[in-house]
Symmetry: D2
Subunit: 377 residues, 4 copies
Amino acid sequence: MAPIRLGMVGGGNDAFIGGVHRIASRIDGRFQLVAGALSSTPEKSKASGAALGLAADRCYGDFVEMAQREARLKNGVEAVAIVTPNHVHYAAAREFLKRGIHVICDKPLTSTLADAKKLVAAAEKSDALFVLTHNYTGYPMVRQARAMVAEGALGKLRVVQVEYPQDWLTDAVEQTGAKQAEWRTDPARSGAGGCVGDIGTHAYNLAGFVTGLTLDSLAADLTSFVEGRRLDDNVHVMLRYKGGAKGMLWSSQVAPGNENALRLRVYGDKGGLEWSQEDPNYLWFTPHGEPKRLLTRNGAGAIAANQTASRIPPGHPEGYLEGFANIYNEAADLIVAARDGGRPEHLLPTVQDGLAGVVFIDACVRSSNRNAAWVSV
Amino acid sequence: MAPIRLGMVGGGNDAFIGGVHRIASRIDGRFQLVAGALSSTPEKSKASGAALGLAADRCYGDFVEMAQREARLKNGVEAVAIVTPNHVHYAAAREFLKRGIHVICDKPLTSTLADAKKLVAAAEKSDALFVLTHNYTGYPMVRQARAMVAEGALGKLRVVQVEYPQDWLTDAVEQTGAKQAEWRTDPARSGAGGCVGDIGTHAYNLAGFVTGLTLDSLAADLTSFVEGRRLDDNVHVMLRYKGGAKGMLWSSQVAPGNENALRLRVYGDKGGLEWSQEDPNYLWFTPHGEPKRLLTRNGAGAIAANQTASRIPPGHPEGYLEGFANIYNEAADLIVAARDGGRPEHLLPTVQDGLAGVVFIDACVRSSNRNAAWVSV
Amino acid sequence: MAPIRLGMVGGGNDAFIGGVHRIASRIDGRFQLVAGALSSTPEKSKASGAALGLAADRCYGDFVEMAQREARLKNGVEAVAIVTPNHVHYAAAREFLKRGIHVICDKPLTSTLADAKKLVAAAEKSDALFVLTHNYTGYPMVRQARAMVAEGALGKLRVVQVEYPQDWLTDAVEQTGAKQAEWRTDPARSGAGGCVGDIGTHAYNLAGFVTGLTLDSLAADLTSFVEGRRLDDNVHVMLRYKGGAKGMLWSSQVAPGNENALRLRVYGDKGGLEWSQEDPNYLWFTPHGEPKRLLTRNGAGAIAANQTASRIPPGHPEGYLEGFANIYNEAADLIVAARDGGRPEHLLPTVQDGLAGVVFIDACVRSSNRNAAWVSV
Amino acid sequence: MAPIRLGMVGGGNDAFIGGVHRIASRIDGRFQLVAGALSSTPEKSKASGAALGLAADRCYGDFVEMAQREARLKNGVEAVAIVTPNHVHYAAAREFLKRGIHVICDKPLTSTLADAKKLVAAAEKSDALFVLTHNYTGYPMVRQARAMVAEGALGKLRVVQVEYPQDWLTDAVEQTGAKQAEWRTDPARSGAGGCVGDIGTHAYNLAGFVTGLTLDSLAADLTSFVEGRRLDDNVHVMLRYKGGAKGMLWSSQVAPGNENALRLRVYGDKGGLEWSQEDPNYLWFTPHGEPKRLLTRNGAGAIAANQTASRIPPGHPEGYLEGFANIYNEAADLIVAARDGGRPEHLLPTVQDGLAGVVFIDACVRSSNRNAAWVSV
């Protein structure tokens, strides 16, 4: 079967996540990148496109031009990956959605709550798919964790501890020319949340994905520790879920020694689970009163949700890129099914999940501005 | 040198912490247990004393009788370990302090804030020493962590993450005859805090000991997850320290798979530290921008604070009992020095630390009762 | 730049390593699979090829036909991946090498020492490249380890401990229809070594790659623990390297709980290194008399050899497939350079490394047959 | 019950293991040190004794004088701990055994095979007990491991991998005044084995204790890597057990980064076990085809052998000293039973185990001298 024709908005030189999307789209051989509006100027865009082997006439100066022309081409893109800074997501997605081109969009959904709501409307009006790359939900052990919770292996849930510390913003690197740091600490491009938007939303999404719980309210204490930084770089949140479970969320970009230490622990009245993104092929399962068990990717004790998200045998570690590729792979399933009007069940993050993330950011900022008062979400 | 004559209040059969105190007092050979009011009835007390090899005439029916008689004996006890449930601490300590007998008392200091203040007054009026067994401060790697923070290895502190989950109260075991669970979930004996008093205070104390920070205010969300339980079994707290550092504290007794998982992480603008009680011979030091370093007890990179708290070479693990014994050992130093009126510097938890712990419990309960509002401490 | 046209011999349905090669060749987008002799019959080969999207006329019934026709095509394959059982490697490689088509071949080189020598001759006579996929040498931390040893970070090497335990042959699964187990325990297809050939050679190769040491002699004790098994499933070897270093190699396929636990430890008079394949993003460096340091992929302390083999930031784990893809990526560099007659320096395993592996297998079998007598290699 | 009166031979200032024995004897309060021949001269012996609180008239100039006088005293020692360098063990033990005084002796049993045989004869002729402190057998998880193997949890044993690396002799510290290094690298005091005697015997003993296997033959390659060192500092051994199991033993004192890394892995046809001395409260159990389980000291899944060797709840780590104290505690049981002629079953290392250790050393040295030829034991 011919690969799905993919376009990309953003992701030129200097970008981080664009390259990740490209690798993720290639791993299972189901997409082929054929067009792009990769940078903010036509020249840069063409240069980046050429380096990636794109035809010159499919390197566009902006996403509007790209959407218009690709929609008219006989073999135009079927799907587009949007990997720009947050403030561009909505405007770019809208152009493709309204032309029936599927959108795979990086997180958070948008830089403002207003944009998020408009993007939801645009996605719901379109026949095209909208997939948000909360990529951590693609890890096989995360899939197994979700299934185990759903099957009741932990009993009734009580406590959710999720954290996502990093250390790359310990110093004021945004003041010394680091592109990634610049836009991620810029309210105009990132939105009202800094750390909370960039990685706090991943933590929040992961907790919801695994537990199936819905947040009721939160109390957040956001801090900018680095002098001159315009957005939060440390996030402390207490969580109350509907049904009575409680939780804590910590995300930070100023915690030296933490590279990308997303970690989730969930406890119910029958047992617990623990998963760490930096060692993603393992999942601790601790049934109450029994020895701890170390479950592995595709290994002994792997259930279908784990096996189907794995490519290779246990002990041959899969990583971040394979977890990300699982999102692309499942998106490919949906895109192929959509050709015949099919809409199979799936586990992909949706535009509604994206909205929930922006609501979470908004609630955290509002709570923090009110001295960490409880805010309903 | 002859060992210090030690008495004990509480710690009869069925007790947990009494046995710990006895082993800790023996490890370095500087104490000898010679008297006790070990149980709540004279008969049980004598039976427990006999099992421990105490002379019959030094097994007392209650601590008042014991204090009175031992104070008159030529070779009466020089120090007493108080290892009863919390509500007895004050009354027992008072009897010995007022007779000039040193007190080594288990935590938390008392079951009420009023008692705590009275005990502070009693201790300050007495010439005798008062030592509170926040035993986790006795671990060599904790001592090294404190010294490193004090020396500036982490720079200016920003974030403190401390947690102390256990799982032994996941079920309502206090309703099925478990003595330890009974009194620890009983407000009359434990005070207004359950999990927060029993282990939350350890976490709070440890964070303060290592960082040297003073708490400014907190917001606490206490929960009793187990039906019928009268005290909290899960504790979520956001912390604001004087000077701007912020933190989170989680303690729980309903987190399956956690045996006794006290863990502290501290981050400053130059580096971080991480220590876990269950693997106490290790300390991670993460200077910002450099590889993580694993420091070990008495090993390469051990500083004096670590070495002097160690007995044996690196790789020969010391544990909980040795850390506890370091408290007894340092108390012995003070007791010997006190014979000549000396009061050397030391690292032992004091009655003021005990008061701070009870203030912390009280603040957590008050905050939680006001929907986790910020409360100054 | 257009991707390199790749063919494949072997790797049809039921295969394990063929799929790995295909993913590895796609990750960096530098190869495109366009032809194959994927199975042992023309029908199966065409079916497998169709499933992979190959054109029907480029799905061949055998590798001779494929080599002949592809060599004549204008856009025939530039390189071929040989992923059959061992006994086919030589015959297949010969056909492509003699027609100037580059060969990327799975390990071990061949099933017999005679074939290995013939393949060396064939490779040396050809202008085409020959790359052996000792894929573990592609891991970034392995690259860093090699560079650190070469730079003298460990001082003069003394001790090499390498092991590679698995558990998938704990039972006699080759007698119950498991295809992978069948050929790997069949002397006709695997050669005289079972476990020693399948994974022992990986361990041996890794030790040599990292240390730069040359083996002088070995004493091997091979065992078939499972009743009816025709080849060894556990391998114990003592190693003596030229220059005086000594080592041990253990590989096993009957060690329950070990999925794919390749692990290398190297010690010199100034320090040590430790690396585990199942947690490949870490490398322990233990300079003598200093704290242990945990180096990470692309993280603090990463040197160029580590960084250039990494795609994404630290804490975003790369795994087995990315390590494997590093072999393909470097092969692509060589193939591109070869178009202009270039032969840049590289770290890829060569046909000589392959011969060394077969010599190692042969020496182990001979030693074991002589009661583990020392055998020179 | 009054504590057992204990004497000590060796263990004066500068000693390591003497202090360990003293702490171990105190932990459970069942011994009281009352006499000693602690050093090689009467003056030093008295000084060391005074520092330990011994009465002056019970500090002896040598062990013969001590044995003679203590045997005559009404309250003379009931047991003696022999903690000298190896070459003194036999002569000292003999003096006490022949006077009916129980002996607790450090390992290895003696410095020569001839002495070992004489000591066996002396012990068998005596009514007194002889206990060898292979202390690692006292760890609760080691006890559980042994019981699990005996109960068949691993099925028929196939592979035993045991290792004991250290790094403290990486440099020639014996040439710069380090007392511990001096005698341990001196053939006159240690015997013909260096590393193999000092720690290799611990590894060998541990493997036998847990597996219950009897060694049939071995092939050993001993090396002295440090220039001028007179005894081996690295030990490579292949093992063949009666019944068909095979193994490898590595011990080293020149492996930087290894403090005291004794580690045992055992594999049978139904499962595996793994235990590491540096993290002694854990035991991995890997039943074939099921998830790995992490058993803990006194925790969920603890069997009686584990519980009875534990003092405190799970998660409160016990360490090296408690494991050592378990040997003393069980010795106390035997000594008390012996007062009434009882000889209960026990798990303590005996003089026969000590002989087996010296036979192992002797076999390793002989094998190594014959180019690692197989030697029966």
